[in-house]
């Protein structure tokens, strides 16, 4: 994912581009037709990755309660918008600073392609602009992972503040270590499409958020029980996961960085094999543990397989792809249950899917496929730890500062009434009653925080 040329400053009249482009393209060893094909595939891939935001929006809103739907959708609308904008201002040039010390570099504010950067002189696979857009979509994807784990109780402003800083600074700076040609790239760490750089980075942010926020009211009880807070719309959730799978055609397929038939076709196949294996494995794992097959676990399993293959999709044979996906599918089910058991509330399983399976997918590159070996496994481990420590600490810091400044959580009254009314003043389903008695608050089952919140909410409604 490196820029081959040091970028030059300055705006260029369009007239010059055409002639300069044609002349330079000949020197780069790829025909103009092939460059067009490559760039076209990359632009389509950017569009496919963009579709993942549709997937996240529908998945997250489907798996949470109706009274918070507008709020979740708002967050999922905000993140791609702010992600693309900040990537244009700072992110792209933080992630690809050109020549730098390997840890931090910045090529300047804004985007400034040189004359040749819209030709194959920039890269035989894509133009400067295609590069920018494709990478911008990735950045937004990493930030949006966090929104699922903090759902149903985070203040909107707090989340927007966190997400902006996370996508503008944290993601691209740590991303430069590998894709920007930084120290991890030099070491030999390998992350084809972002199991670590995108998914685990998002996952660490999600974990930090869930830890500092605390669980939803009523989720855990005094005696340690885990209460179910069921999804309000499984069709939406299912549509979301399949949209995400569709987006992954671009996420992994586009990470080949050109339209090379061999590489791209293999990558799409390994991606789909891992997704399928993850889904089946999760189905049967949840069936075995819970005596009934859980659809939301099956959906998480598909995503787990996708995240798991993402680090090495271009390296794997058919059977390795299936195995990686299947293991991810089993792991994600146990992870969801165990994370609940330690009372970290993750409404959509984002930590399990993206962090846990992101780590698995990264390690898998050292275990399966063309790069397998102890040395590679070592590099993968170094990368995982480096990204983990840095991202987790950074996310904790940002959340902690935001918490100190403006608070993280909505009031208990608002949480019970629903964030749609509290944060937005507008329900998602205006014709329906969305405060249900399911997952509600029979006081006998609540812990102290729940009791207090319930009492406060009663007072609130009496006052009206």
């Amino acid at each position: 994912m490196r820029r081959l040329r040091f970028v030059r400053f300055g705006l260029v009249p369009a007239v010059l581009l055409a002639t300069a482009g044609a002349a330079l393209a000949q020197d780069e060893g790829v025909s103009p037709e092939m460059f067009t094909v490559n760039n076209l595939w990359m632009m389509i891939a950017a569009g496919l990755v963009f579709i993942m935001h549709l997937g996240f929006a529908t998945l997250e809103s489907g798996l949470t309660r109706a009274k918070n739907t507008t709020n979740i959708l708002f967050k999922n609308t905000f993140v791609p918008c702010i992600g693309i904008l900040t990537y244009a201002f700072v992110g792209f040039n933080l992630m690809y600073p050109g020549d730098f010390n390997g840890f931090f570099g910045f090529a300047g504010f804004g985007t400034f392609p040189g004359e040749a950067d819209v030709t194959s002189a920039y890269n035989t696979g894509y133009t400067y602009w295609t590069d920018f857009l494709f990478q911008a979509m990735f950045a937004a994807t990493a930030a949006t992972i966090v929104s699922g784990a903090v759902a149903e109780r985070i203040k909107l402003g707090s989340f927007m503040l966190f997400a902006t800083i996370f996508v503008a600074l944290v993601y691209p700076i740590v991303g430069s270590w590998k894709w920007g040609g930084g120290w991890l790239d030099g070491l030999g760490f390998y992350d084809f499409a972002g199991s670590t750089l995108v998914h685990s980075v998002g996952g660490w942010g999600a974990l930090a958020g869930a830890l500092l926020l605390g669980p939803r009211i009523g989720k855990y009880t005094r005696d340690g029980r885990v209460n179910a807070i069921p999804a309000h719309n499984m069709p939406l959730a299912t549509v979301g996961v399949f949209l995400l799978w569709l987006g992954w055609f671009g996420f992994n397929g586009g990470s080949v960085l050109n339209a090379d038939p061999a590489a791209v076709s293999l990558t799409l196949v390994t991606t789909c094999l891992a997704a399928s294996a993850g889904g089946i494995a999760a189905m049967f794992t949840s069936w075995g543990i819970s005596k009934k097959p859980d659809l939301s676990m099956a959906l998480n399993g598909i995503l787990a397989g996708l995240v798991g293959i993402t680090a090495g999709a271009d390296q794997m044979a058919m059977w390795s792809a299936m195995l990686i996906g299947a293991i991810a599918g089993v792991v994600v089910v146990y992870s969801v249950i165990l994370i609940d058991r330690i009372h970290v509330d993750d409404p959509v399983g984002a930590i399990s899917v993206h962090l846990v399976c992101g780590v698995w997918g990264t390690l898998a590159v050292g275990i399966f496929g063309a790069k397998a070996g102890m040395a590679q496994l070592g590099y993968q481990a170094v990368g995982i730890v480096a990204y983990g420590v840095t991202t987790f600490v950074a996310a904790l810091l940002i959340f902690a500062v935001v918490k100190a400044m403006i608070g993280l959580r909505v009031s208990p009254e608002e949480e019970i009434e629903g964030l749609d009314l509290g944060e937005h003043g507008a329900p998602a389903y205006a014709d329906f009653q969305t405060v249900s008695s399911l997952g509600a608050h029979p006081t006998a089952r609540m812990d102290d925080a729940g009791d207090a919140a319930y009492a406060a909410s009663l007072k609130l409604h009496e006052a009206r």
Partner: protein, 112 residues
């Protein structure tokens, strides 16, 4: 004038409606309600966490009848709604003080 309220199992609604039609009772109001009596709730499972749903979906039917129709109407409802299993529901008969048809202003038995 009497009001009959019956809480029945939802899938019995059509049968009860037919049975009432045979008694020449054409009008009724229904609502979807939740409730339980002796019928226990059931257990559901979500992402490894088990939870009990105590309230079961039911349908409440309200019909207004003339005094001399009440017994026959009640019998018809009961016969149609009965399955013999726990959870069949209950029927309540109460006296109504006044009935008024909104469109015409008719009172009493002619408004039934």
């Amino acid at each position: 004038m009497k009001k009959i309220e019956a809480i029945i199992k939802p899938f019995k609604l059509d049968e009860v409606k037919e049975a009432l039609a045979q008694q020449n009772i054409q009008g009724m109001t229904i609502s979807e309600v939740k409730g339980f009596g002796r019928q226990k709730g059931h257990s559901e499972l979500y992402r490894g966490a088990e939870y009990t749903v105590d309230f079961l979906p039911k349908v409440k039917i309200e019909v207004l009848v003339a005094d001399d129709q009440a017994a026959a109407a009640a019998d018809a409802i009961i016969a149609a709604a009965k399955t013999g299993r726990i959870g069949d529901g209950k029927l309540f008969i109460s006296t109504v003080e006044e009935i008024i048809r909104i469109r015409t202003g008719e009172h009493g038995e002619s408004a039934v």
